[in-house]
Amino acid sequence: MIFTNRVSLVTGASQGIGEAIAEELGREGATVVLVDVQKDKLEQVASRLAGLGIRALPYEADVTDSTRAAQVVDEVVDTLGRLDHLVNNAGITRDSLLLRMKEEDWDLVLRVNLKGAFNFSRAALKPMFTARYGRIVNIASVVGQMGNFGQTNYAASKAGLIGFSKSLAREVAARGITVNCVAPGYIATPMTDKLPEEVKKAFLDIIPMKRFGLPVEVARAVKFLCSDEASYITGQVINVNGGMYM
């Protein structure tokens, strides 16, 4: 196990990709801190992981709340003594054509997807600075690179996350902290389940591997970036998309 004694915090961990990331890091021995707004699901995931022998601590928190973010990180460092990995995974969509997009849908998507990462990164950097060690992985999206019909808000937030990560990577590189993105393509999760069948089919047509990805396939890339194998990698985007964007 490569993450024995490490502590990992994953936002948006109560389902989908975040849950898979928490499990993948936990299986390597990390204590995983699960952050999400869905309290019941959070508890369920925590007990499922506990059943696998993983130490998982659920924290109900909204990533848009900076005070709460600082509080969660402080509590983690107080009780566990450290924070090694931060995975900013919480994300939402509020799709519509720009002409019809409500201002609140624009704001909400940017607040959760982009500002959420700012809130948790700023809080997590303090213990990482002190330790002169840290790994931040931000979950972007192929949509932040290619654009997508009906997703101007989402694409802006994900492209923003990439620029954010590259800038922060430069700021903290000399302190032993790396900042990278994983950009998933189309992954089968509750977020994508709700898309209409014809949209799913259209995606399949442009994916060279002709299948949707699995959450665990994203989680493995996150695990790699958190590991010591990735010690000289920072400011990068790893695409996990079946070849959809190259």
């Binding site: 303090k126 600075f129 002190t130 700021e171 903290v172 000399a174 302190r175």
Partner: protein, 82 residues
């Protein structure tokens, strides 16, 4: 707390954070010009001083603490603990 005692503590924190010898650290020394701190070091130093002395130094105040002596003044004025 006496100024001398405080200077000793601050010296050891600054030496540790900036990776320099304590003998270089005098009250008049400027963190950036004399002690080689870059902008990140400065942020880290402020964080370390906050932790050590249980302070919350607002950003606009922190910017003014550019010498060891000014940091001492600030801490002496605001430190309430032990």
């Amino acid at each position: 707390m006496e100024r001398e005692e405080l200077l000793k503590k601050v010296k050891s924190i600054v030496a540790d954070k900036l990776n320099i010898g304590e003998e270089q650290i005098t009250e008049n020394a400027s963190f950036t010009q004399d002690l080689g701190a870059d902008s990140l070091d400065t942020v880290e130093l402020v964080m370390a001083l906050e932790d050590e002395f249980g302070l919350n130094i607002p950003d606009d105040e922190a910017e003014k603490l550019n010498t060891v002596g000014k940091a001492l003044d600030y801490i002496l004025e605001h430190y309430k603990g032990k």
